[in-house]
Symmetry: C2
Subunit: 336 residues, 2 copies
C-alpha cells in the first residue's frame, strides 16, 4: 500500500518540492512566460511527481478569461440543432475553448438562465432559437460578454446576430413548387415563437397567394416534429380538393409528411403530391426521401458566430449577418 498523497497538490507544494517560488510554477505552466528551460524542467518534474493539475478557477479569477462559451440550444431532437452543436463546439475547441451547455426547460424564464451563464463568468454567449431581453443584453454589454443570437435579429438590442435569409428561402421554395405545376397547397407550420419559421411562412404564403390566391392554401400545425408533420399532412389531405403540394417549414416535419402521403395514404411523391422542406438535414438526402429543400448553412453560420464573439477588439456596434438561401432540388418535387 502506497500512502495516498494529498488529494490535490497546489502550486505551493510543487514550488516547495522543486525548490522554486510559486511564481516560477505559474510561469512554467503559462505558455510564453519568461522562464529558463532549466527552471521549467525542475517545475515539471515536481509537478509530475505530485500529479499536479493547474487550477483554472484560480487562474480565471485573475485573468478574467475562463475559455468557456455558454451555448443555449433547444433539444437536439431536430437534427439541425445537433449539427449546429457539432460545428460550434468543434470550432471552439480548435481555439482552446469549451462549450458549457444550457437547455432551459422554461424558455419563458430565459433571463434567469442568462444570469446563470454570467455567474459562470463565461467569455461569450451563443443563443440559438431564443430571444434575449434588452435588460439582459445591457447587462452582458456592461460585463463585456459578447452575445450572438442564431436565427433571430433583434433590432435595438445590442447583440450580434447570424441568420439565414428566410424571406428568400421561402420565396425560392414557393417558386420551385409553383414551377412544378402546383395549384393547391398545404403548408405545414411550426412554432409561432421561432422567427425563422415565421419568416419562412410569411414568404411562402405571400408568394403562393400571389400566384393562386388565398383560397388554394391550407395551413396545419406540425409542431416541429416528425410525428407532428405526419399528422398535419393527414389532416391537410382530408376532404375534397386535396392539395397537390405540401410545403413543410422544416425538413423533420417534411419527412413525416412524405411518409404519410406514401405509406398512410398510398399516394406517390412527387406525382400525386410534391413535398418541399427547409434545412437540409442529413435525412433529406437519404434515398428513401430525396427531399427538395432549402439549405440552412450550418457550417457558415457557426463560422460567423464564432468570429463575431472572438473579434478583438470587440466591434463597437452589433453586427447582423444574413446568409443567402440555397435551394437543393431533389426528387420530391415536380419539374426540371
Amino acid at each position: 500500500m502506497t500512502k495516498r498523497t494529498r488529494v490535490r497538490a497546489n502550486s505551493t507544494e510543487v514550488a516547495r518540492l522543486a525548490g522554486v517560488s510559486i511564481a516560477a510554477v505559474s510561469r512554467a505552466f503559462a505558455p510564453g512566460s519568461s522562464i529558463s528551460p532549466a527552471l521549467a524542467e525542475r517545475v515539471y518534474a515536481a509537478a509530475r511527481e505530485l500529479n499536479y493539475v493547474p487550477n483554472n478557477l484560480a487562474r480565471s479569477l485573475i485573468t478574467r478569461r475562463t475559455n468557456i462559451v455558454a451555448l443555449m440550444l433547444p433539444t437536439t431532437s431536430n437534427p439541425i440543432f445537433a449539427a449546429m452543436l457539432d460545428e460550434i463546439s468543434l470550432r471552439l475547441e480548435d481555439q482552446g475553448k469549451q462549450v458549457l451547455l444550457f437547455t432551459p426547460s422554461d424558455v419563458a424564464d430565459f433571463d434567469r438562465t442568462l444570469q446563470h451563464m454570467l455567474q459562470y463568468q463565461v467569455d461569450a454567449i451563443v443563443i440559438a432559437a431564443a430571444s434575449i431581453s434588452s435588460r439582459m443584453a445591457a447587462l452582458c454589454v456592461d460585463r463585456n460578454v459578447p452575445v450572438v443570437t442564431l436565427g433571430r435579429y433583434l433590432p435595438g438590442i445590442p447583440v450580434h446576430s447570424v441568420r439565414g435569409d428566410e424571406h428568400d428561402a421561402g420565396t425560392q421554395a414557393a417558386d420551385l413548387v409553383l414551377k412544378g405545376g402546383g395549384r393547391r397547397f398545404g403548408v405545414i407550420d411550426g412554432s409561432p415563437n421561432l422567427t425563422t419559421i415565421v419568416e419562412r411562412k410569411a414568404a411562402v404564403t405571400a408568394r403562393l397567394e400571389s400566384a393562386v390566391g388565398p383560397g388554394a392554401i391550407r395551413i396545419a400545425d406540425g409542431g416541429l416534429t416528425y410525428a407532428g408533420g405526419h399528422r398535419a399532412a393527414l389532416a391537410l389531405m382530408e376532404g375534397p380538393d386535396r392539395p397537390d403540394t405540401l410545403v413543410c417549414l422544416t425538413d423533420i416535419m417534411a419527412l413525416g409528411a412524405m411518409d404519410a402521403v406514401r405509406h398512410a395514404l398510398g399516394l406517390r411523391v412527387p406525382e400525386d403530391v410534391a413535398v418541399v422542406g427547409f434545412d437540409d438535414i442529413p435525412e433529406a438526402g437519404y434515398m428513401s426521401y430525396q427531399l427538395s429543400t432549402v439549405r440552412t448553412p450550418v457550417k457558415e453560420m457557426a463560422k460567423y458566430m464564432i468570429e463575431l464573439i472572438s473579434a478583438k477588439p470587440e466591434p463597437a456596434e452589433p453586427r447582423a449577418i444574413k446568409i443567402p438561401a440555397q435551394l437543393i432540388v431533389r426528387a420530391s418535387t415536380r419539374g426540371l
Copy 2:
C-alpha cells in the same frame, strides 16, 4: 447618457452600498444561510442597483464544487449520441449542474483531454465511447472526481460503467433473423475501437455460425455512417449467393443498407433481403424504414450514469451496471 457603472460589481461594492459586511452579501446569495430577512433585503436592493452577479469562480475555489460535469462525446452525427446528450444534460440541469462538452478530435490523445477536464475542476466526468487509461483513472480517484464510462467496461480500472447487454442484444438480433428464415448473411461492421460494436459483432457471428456455419456469413465495414452502410450493403450483395439478410451493427448504417437494397438494387425488404439494426434511433421507427432493431436504452443509461456520479457518499468500489437488451420487431424482418 447615464454614466456606465463599473464593469462588474463585486461583493465588496454591494456590501458598501448596502452598509453591511461582505459576509452578509455572501450569505444573502447562499440559500440556507442564517441571515435576517431585513438584512437580505438590503443586500438584494444594492445588488439590483449595481447589477451584481455572484462570481461562481471565486465561490467554487472555496467550496470545491463547480456544479460542472465534463462530458466527452463523439460527434452527434449518429442520432443515438444526440439523444444521449439530451438526456444527460436535461437530468443534470434538473439538479442545477451544467454540462461542459469535450469532443476530442484525437481520441488517441484522450489523456490530454482528461487533464484538461480536471483543470476546469469539474465535479464529475462522463465518458461516452472512449477508454480512460489506468493512470488517468487513478488521478481522478485521487482528486475525488467520479468517472463513469458509457458502453465500456474496463476491468481493474476504478471507474463506474453503464452499458447495454450487447451479448444478449446480438444474440436476440441473430435469433430474430434466423427465425425469419435467413440462411445467407451479410454483417455490416462498424469501428473496431468501440467495445459496444465489437461485442455485438461477436455475439451475432457466434449465433449465426452455430446455425448456418461460417461459410454463409460475409462481413463488410460500414464505418458507422449512413453512406458507409449503403456502400457496405452494395459490396455484400455483389456476386453469387447473395445474402438474404443484412445484420447492421448500428441503425444509422442499417438505414443506408435498406436504401441500397431498395433504391439502388431494386429489391424488396424484407421479402428479398431482411435487415436488422441496433440502437433504435428515431429514424428506425419512421414509416419509410420500419426497421427491426435492438434498443439502446438511452434514458435508463443516462439515469444510472447520473446516479453513479452523484452518489453521496461516493461508493468505495466502482460499479458496473449492465442493462438488458430489448428487441423491437418491425417490418424489416421476416416471420411472425
